[in-house]
Amino acid sequence: MTDVTLIVNGETKTASVPPETTLLKMLREDLNYTGSKLGCDVGDCGACTVLVDGLAVNACLMLAGQAEGKEILTIEGLSTLEKYHPIQKAFEDVAALQCGFCGPGMIMTTKALIDQDEDVTRQNIKDALSGNLCRCTGYTKIIEGVIDAYQEITGKKLPEIKPRAA
């Protein structure tokens, strides 16, 4: 067993874990942050996405020990008791999530994208989300939610896509 200390959502947390423990397992089972999900355990589905020092990471691919001392932001760290996070609000408003299992990962990827502080296009959004699998939504309303959140947070506007004909 090794002691691992992480700064999770601004709070310092320590747990004693076997060395093979992934960051995801430590967050979920030792620290009880169950918002990040285990969908495949090999980095294919993105349901476990968290931010490690600001970068989106598949927590199932990173050993807990590798994250020693790092700042981890999980889905539980976005909203506060005072403020509903704009990404989470946008996702709720457009019904971006159906079964919701991919949701925390999707939202953390979105957070990383918007935090880059660069101009974003629809293609950028699709590229960014391409590592997060969703089986319910066809990604359409998720992309809509990302656009709404991006516009809300940055004050920038993405060009509208006009529906065809009719």
């Binding site: 495949c40 090999v42 294919d44 589905c45 457009v94 019904a95 159906q98 079964c99 919701g100 959004i125 699709k126 590229d127 989300l129 391409s130 590592g131 997060n132 699998l133 089986r135 319910c136 939504t137 066809g138 990604y139 359409t140 309303k141 998720i142 992309i143 896509i161 529906p163 065809r164 009719a166």
Partner: protein, 340 residues
């Protein structure tokens, strides 16, 4: 060279089980303040059914969606339900809930009638009020009526009901019968780009017009259609469980089993075909499964339009499309008329 094509796929799909009974039961408990709790044995599996069912209960009671709290999916506390299967929840469970809410409402009407000096059958529940039909000025807040019912009349406004879609068994020889109570209809159109040098197919646009009877919640209907299309695209172009000669699956993981990502999704325009089914709750039917039905057909027809090859076995992978294009080219050369 990139070649473009358009294709259409049209379908029909039934709601509920084939002939077999597939009942749902529900209980609606109106609270003392006119809000209500709905008990249903169905399971929320992502589609938003609990919200839709709340809307159905709310509509019947004349209150808002937020006035309904839904308790679901616990065999100890919720009534029997056949479950989230066969696109049946909105239609079958919805009908049960509408009936249960109507039973609770009947108690409210019977309590309100003497207060409003009319007969119960002259009342309606609208906008959180129990009011006299065609004379809406005479009304009481539903909260007052619910409180009166429970604490003065001693009749808590609770309603339970069940619903099972009517069917007629099929003749074993000819299959003739009425296996389903109702059906929905839909069409999807696809625009694709096919690279005739690689066989790669890119779906760039899809329009989808789906009938679901009344759309209880259009936003959630759109979500179903968009999601169904993504599943249809996977079925058409990418997904296949592959086995080796011993029967072991070669791709039991999401690395090698390819399903659609955000990059595989086209622009989608969704239209809901206006329709009203008198047998459904407020005219509603269902939408879950049919959304994934015509997509592959539309895409394969668009491939045919683009490069003139008919894909007869799914998925239409790049290898398969390229092979078909090569075969076609070989055949086209063969049938060139010989020079005189």
């Amino acid at each position: 060279m990139i070649r473009r094509g358009k294709g259409v796929g049209c379908m029909w799909y039934p709601i509920g089980f084939t002939v077999l009974a597939n009942p749902s039961a529900a209980t609606v408990k109106v609270n003392e303040d006119g809000t209500a709790t709905l008990l249903t044995g169905t399971v929320e599996t992502g589609q938003g059914s609990l919200t839709v069912l709340a809307q159905i209960a709310a509509e019947e009671l004349g209150v808002s969606t937020d006035d309904i709290h839904v308790v679901s999916a616990d065999t100890d506390t919720t009534p029997m339900d056949t479950g989230a299967i066969a696109s049946r929840t909105t239609y079958v469970t919805g009908n049960a809930i509408k009936l249960a809410a109507a039973n609770a409402k009947q108690i409210l009407f019977e309590v309100a009638a003497p207060l409003l000096e009319v007969q119960p059958n002259q009342l309606e529940a609208v906008d959180r009020k129990i009011q006299v039909q065609y004379f809406p000025q005479r009304c009481l807040p539903i909260a007052d009526v619910a409180l009166q019912a429970q604490f003065v009349m001693g009749r808590p406004p609770i309603g339970s009901a069940s619903y099972n879609p009517p069917t007629v068994g099929m003749d074993p020889e000819t299959g003739q019968g009425k296996p389903f109570s109702t059906y929905v209809y839909a069409t999807q159109c696809a625009e694709v780009e096919v690279d005739d040098e690689t066989g790669e197919v890119d779906v760039i646009y899809m329009s989808a017009a789906h009938d679901c009877g009344t759309a209880i919640n259009p936003m959630l209907v759109e979500g179903q259609i968009e999601g169904g299309i993504s599943m249809g695209i996977g079925f058409a172009l990418q997904e296949e469980m592959l086995f080796d000669d011993k029967g072991l699956q070669l791709n039991p993981n999401l690395t090698n089993y390819i399903m659609p990502t955000s990059l595989d999704m086209p622009e989608i325009d969704v239209d809901i075909v206006e329709n009203f089914d008198p047998t459904g709750p407020f005219g509603a039917k269902g939408v879950g499964e049919p959304t994934a039905v015509p997509t592959a057909a539309a895409i394969c027809n668009a491939i045919f339009d683009a490069v003139g090859v008919r894909i007869t076995s799914l998925p239409a992978t790049a290898e398969k499309v390229l092979r078909a294009i090569k075969e076609k080219n070989d055949n086209d050369q063969k049938i060139l008329p010989a020079a005189e």
